[in-house]
């Protein structure tokens, strides 16, 4: 990161992204009875994905503020 620049991860409008572990992913896929490709996608070129250094094929867990549910969990598969 360039000097003087603020990490976008610290911005209040950027929800928290977290790379999930293999165990966790399996649990998630089992819970919804889906295959990996059935997850919503996020591009590798997404600024947050670049910042947290996720790779294509990773699954990220996104914890975000929700008007209806307070906080909501969302999962995305990183793609190219």
């Amino acid at each position: 990161m360039k000097k003087g620049k603020i990490s976008i991860l610290e911005h209040e409008l950027v929800p928290k992204h977290e790379i999930m572990g293999a165990e966790e992913i399996k649990e998630l896929l089992d819970k919804y009875k889906i295959k990996r490709v059935q997850l919503p996608k996020i591009k590798l070129s997404d600024p947050v994905i670049k910042e947290i250094k996720a790779d294509a094929g990773d699954v990220v867990k996104i914890k975000r503020q929700s008007r209806t549910a307070g906080t909501a969990l969302f999962y995305r598969l990183v793609i190219e």
Partner: protein, 1019 residues
């Protein structure tokens, strides 16, 4: 259900070969029927092309009418003709390919370096870019990045994609590395995008790029020779930007002096390309010498719309390219260049865009109609085909007779015209072909295009049976889930009923009645034969009617139907209603269901659909019933409820302590299903003449309303005029208004649905509508111009207090402004400040006037009552009618437009006064002066334009949203998924709450529950 996924759709062109192959008959005569009345052999309505007359058999497949799908024929054209649909594409291709050799005007791949190493080859075979390869590329001056990827293209050919595109070929035991060149790059781009949208973009770019080249890099005219020389060859091989002195000298002596930095590219082992500014030289090795060619210069081609091409040579001479020339050129384009156009040579060769054979559609696609007079009237397409065949013949005859070129060209042009209009009769620059009556013919394109075309008109949308449409009108006496259907419609619409042991007697009676209302129109026998019930045969049919038959009986009371009003913007636009057959000619519906349909009775029409299967009826009953849609999922509140007079009436009834004796009470509660009256509120003494006095029990209006409330209902809320308290189904205090029972708000209705269920809520709405109607009929309710009357002193007060003062203030503001004493508001100019202050002053003046008027108009005034109860209108409307219309505005500002410095010629130049800029002092009742009327119209127009713009924009936005979201589904695990089961939301709405089944967005409303419990315990 098994779902199938479409893997791909292949589009292609019909080749002449294919057209002939699929043809059942060659068409040579323009005549249709012979003198004997039978179709002519090889004519346009040839019996080999299918049958349209009952009783005949197809000569191709032997099928009867209905069985034979029809077969294509063909016409051999005397000369090639441009297919008008591809005219533009043909132009692009002509411009992008060499006029001589037909190759696309893009540079081929060129040689970079070569290696021979088994290890490197092994890496290629495994499709890995190894360290060694990186080194090789780096050493040769083409370093690869880490992102580079390798793919195998074909045997002994690999492609490395980095920022550049490299091709590695194994040639003569060596691995030669090439730069893909312009052509290779485009081919690669197109190949990559083949399976997604965006190929068109690349192809477009390719055409643009190719058309830029003015010389061909593949072929050329011979210039001079060299004697083969290893040194010379070597200097050529060294590649770009290196040119030996010898070569330079040779070029100069031959009169082709090279500039300072020409580029040399090695294309193959014995072909080099020198690019020098806009000149190109092709050097080839052969027969022991090196030949130098000059790249073929490309003449400019112009597209002369709609279907001719003109070539301009170096001397500015113009020559028309006839379709035959065009076809020849297109034929020359090599197969390997076709993918650059985004086409596959196997299924679409460019020359197929120039027609030599014309397919003739089967007669089933262009049936002729027999008129009453016995004359046949042919389809537009047949007419057009007749024209084509006639001209085709004339062309052939003239050519055979050796007619002059001019005549031939004229005929050719005519043939082009007929074929062009046959394909599309709405081409810019071509007069449309017309019918004898002067009507333009409906040809191929017209059949497919537009709203009434095949796609939008016949495939996406179809007319539907078992439906009816008529004007709607109100029926306050029918239930909210009913619909009044005129008898005439009920007799036309039918329901299919299977005859069973249990209903056979009933159905026999139905069939016996026949055309008399609860009767039937048809019966279907066990063998499937349909018989119409008539005066003459009904007796036998009743006799024969048996189990296994079906009866198409009339629509009857309590049949379930779907009722719809367009535009169908939300799910409440189509709801299931129960039929009530009535006299008259309109559909009747309860006024309380107007809001969900957004209907009124000023001439609105609605559609009705009769359900035909038991499954459909069950689904409609469970999912689409009116009571199921009381709560709108849009805003989680009732959309069905009291409107207009219902609200006024209940407000009147429950306002104050109105007393009603037994008789009156019963009359108001007429038609409402309640078992008994509640305890009277008290008694009043009544003098009965000559008989002394009597204690008469009475009920209050609030009590009467309470009688339609269920016991146990506790509710407290803030109404429009003070709080409302309902305890144990008793309206204890407060007045019933829009907030209590109105549509869109309806707190009581909302509670009824949630606490007592849909069925009870439906009954409540029915009851309240009846109660309200009964009472307002009794009480009477009207509003007229005299209801806006204000006493003299009030009028004076408005004029003196509000108006004069405001005008005075405005004058002062203007004076202050002119004296430059006005202080600007923060962030505003002085002019803006003045405008704002004037607007504010005048706005206040109107409100004041309204306030004064209100003081003189009490709640007993019908207008005020309607405004305060929320039944209709607002206090602002009343103010405008009774006191002052107020400032007219355009875009939130006073009216400024008009002449320079003034709005109208009635005012002085630079008059900033209230009157001159649209302040309307009088009320509507008093009347407006001409200038005031004009300003009002100016302001009114803005509102009109705004709504027009808004509706069209929001309509389009809605359409796009629907198209984007229509496949999404909420599954059992509360996830939202699309058709491939890909997750869109992990929990519907992130909280999994259905807005139509919750308390204003929350799953439970704790506060309400607490209140309820407290009320129940009497605390």
């Amino acid at each position: 259900m098994r779902t199938k996924r479409i893997k791909g759709i292949k589009f292609g062109l019909l080749s002449p070969k294919e057209i002939r192959k699929m043809s059942a008959s060659k068409i040579i005569t323009a005549d249709t029927y012979g003198e004997d009345g039978f179709p002519i052999e090889m004519g346009l309505v040839n019996q080999r092309l299918g049958v349209i007359d009952p009783g005949l058999r197809c000569k191709t497949c032997g099928g009867r009418m209905g069985e034979c799908p029809g077969h294509f024929g063909h016409i051999e054209l005397a000369a090639p003709v441009i297919h008008i649909g591809y005219a533009k594409l043909i132009y692009r291709m002509l411009s992008a390919t060499c006029r001589e050799c037909g190759g696309v005007l893009l540079e081929d791949a060129y040689f970079l370096f070569s290696v021979s190493d088994t290890e490197l080859e092994h890496d290629l075979k495994r499709e890995i870019i190894s360290e060694k390869w990186h080194k090789e590329f780096g050493d040769s001056g083409f370093p690869l990045s880490t992102n580079a990827s390798i793919t195998k293209e074909k045997n002994d050919e690999w492609a490395i994609t980095d920022k550049e595109l490299f091709i590695i070929r194994k040639e003569a035991g060596k691995l030669n590395v090439y730069d893909a060149g312009e052509k290779g790059r485009f081919l690669n781009d197109i190949e990559l995008r083949k399976k997604q949208p965006g190929v068109g973009e690349v192809v477009k770019r390719m055409f643009k790029e190719a058309a830029k080249h003015t010389v061909c890099s593949h072929c050329g005219d011979h210039l001079f020779d060299f004697a083969a020389d290893a040194r010379l060859e070597n200097s050529l091989n060294k590649g770009e930007d290196v040119i030996s002195k010898e070569l330079r000298r040779k070029f100069a002596t031959e009169g082709h002096a090279l500039s300072k930095n020409p580029s040399i590219k090695k294309v193959t082992d014995n072909k080099w390309l020198i690019t020098d500014k806009d000149k190109r030289y092709i050097i080839k090795k052969g027969n022991g010498k090196l030949t130098v060619d000059c790249g073929t210069p490309q003449r400019v081609i112009k597209f002369d719309k709609p279907s001719s091409y003109i070539e301009i040579d170096e001397k500015e001479r113009k020559r028309r390219l006839m379709p035959s020339d065009v076809r020849e050129r297109l034929e020359k384009i090599p197969d390997e260049d076709i993918p650059l156009f985004g086409m596959t040579p196997k299924s679409a060769r460019p020359e197929w865009m120039v027609l030599t054979v014309l397919p003739v559609p089967p007669v089933t696609a262009r049936p002729s109609i027999t008129l009453e007079s016995g004359q046949r009237s042919e389809d537009d397409l047949t007419h057009k085909l007749v024209d084509i065949i006639r001209i085709n013949h004339r062309f052939m005859d003239n050519r055979a007779a050796g007619a002059p070129q001019l005549i031939i060209e004229d005929l050719w042009e005519l043939l082009q015209y007929h074929i062009s209009t046959y394909l599309n009769n709405e081409i810019a620059g071509i007069p449309p072909a017309r019918h004898r009556s002067g009507r333009p013919l409906k040809t191929m394109t017209q059949r497919l295009k537009g709203k009434e075309g095949r796609f939008r008109g016949s495939l996406s949308g179809k007319r539907v049976n078992f439906s009816a449409r008529t004007v709607i009108s109100p029926a306050p006496d029918i239930d909210i889930d009913e619909v009044g259907v005129p008898e005439a419609i009920a007799k036309e619409l039918t329901v299919n009923v299977n005859v069973t042991e249990r209903n056979i007697d009933l159905l026999k009676e139905t069939v016996r009645r026949g055309n008399e209302h609860p009767g039937a129109n048809y019966v279907r026998r066990a063998d499937g034969k349909k018989v119409k019930i008539t005066e003459t045969n009904y007796e036998t049919l009743v006799e024969e009617l048996d189990i296994g038959w079906k009866v198409e009986r009339h629509l009857r009371d309590r049949d379930i139907v779907l009722f719809n009003r367009q535009p169908s913007l939300h799910r409440m636009s189509i709801m299931a209603h129960y039929v009530r057959v009535m006299s008259g000619k309109t559909f009747r519906l309860n006024p309380t269901v107007c809001p969900p349909y957004n209907a009124d009775y000023d001439g609105d029409e609605m559609n009705l659909h009769v359900l035909q299967t038991e499954e459909a009826r069950a689904e409609a009953k469970i999912l689409m019933a009116v009571q199921h849609n009381i709560i709108s999922p849009r805003f989680s509140r009732p959309i069905i409820g009291g409107i207009h007079d219902h609200v006024s009436s209940l407000f009147l009834l429950t306002y104050g302590e109105k007393k009603f004796d037994r008789e009156e009470t019963l009359e108001i509660l007429k038609g409402i299903d309640i078992d008994s009256l509640r305890e009277p509120a008290g008694t009043f003494r009544s003098e009965v003449s000559g008989l002394g006095s009597e204690d008469i029990p009475y009920w209050t209006g609030k009590q009467i309303f309470s009688m339609i409330l269920p016991a146990g209902l506790n509710l407290q809320f803030q109404g429009k005029v003070g709080g409302v308290t309902i305890r144990d189904g008793n309206l204890e205090s407060g007045v019933i208004d829009e907030i209590a029972v109105g549509s869109f708000k309806g707190k009581i209705i909302d509670r009824m649905v949630r606490q007592y269920g849909e069925e009870a809520a439906k009954k409540f709405i029915n009851d309240l509508a009846r109660l309200a109607t009964n009472y307002i009929l009794r009480a009477g309710f009207s509003f007229g111009i005299s209801d806006e009357d204000i006493p003299k002193e009030g009028e004076q007060q408005i004029k003196k207090e509000a108006m004069r003062e405001a005008e005075h203030k405005v004058d002062e503001l203007i004076k202050a402004y002119e004296a430059e004493e006005l202080e600007a508001l923060p962030g505003r100019s002085i002019e803006e400040t003045l405008e704002l202050r004037i607007m504010e002053t005048l706005g206040r003046a109107r409100d004041e006037a309204g306030g004064i008027a209100e003081r003189y108009l009490g709640i007993e005034n019908a207008g005020v009552l309607m405004a305060k109860s929320g039944a209709r209108g607002s206090l602002l409307n009343l103010t405008q009618m009774a006191a002052c219309v107020g400032q007219q505005s355009v875009r939130g500002e006073r009216i400024k437009r008009g002449y320079r410095g003034r709005t109208l010629p009635h005012f002085k130049h630079a008059d900033r006064g209230a009157k001159a800029h649209g302040f309307v002092k009088p009320s509507f009742k008093e009347g407006l002066s001409p200038t005031e009327y004009f300003f009002h119209a100016v302001g009114g127009r803005e509102a009109l334009v705004d709504t027009a713009v808004r509706t069209s924009q929001s309509g389009y936005f809605q359409r796009r949203l629907i198209n984007a979201l229509l496949d999404l589904e909420v599954k059992e695990d509360e996830t939202v998924r699309e058709t491939r089961d890909t997750i869109v939301q992990f929990k519907y709405g992130e909280d999994g709450v259905d807005p139509s089944a919750c308390e204003y967005g929350k799953v439970v409303d704790i506060d309400e529950i607490i209140k309820d419990v407290m009320a129940g315990t009497g605390a």
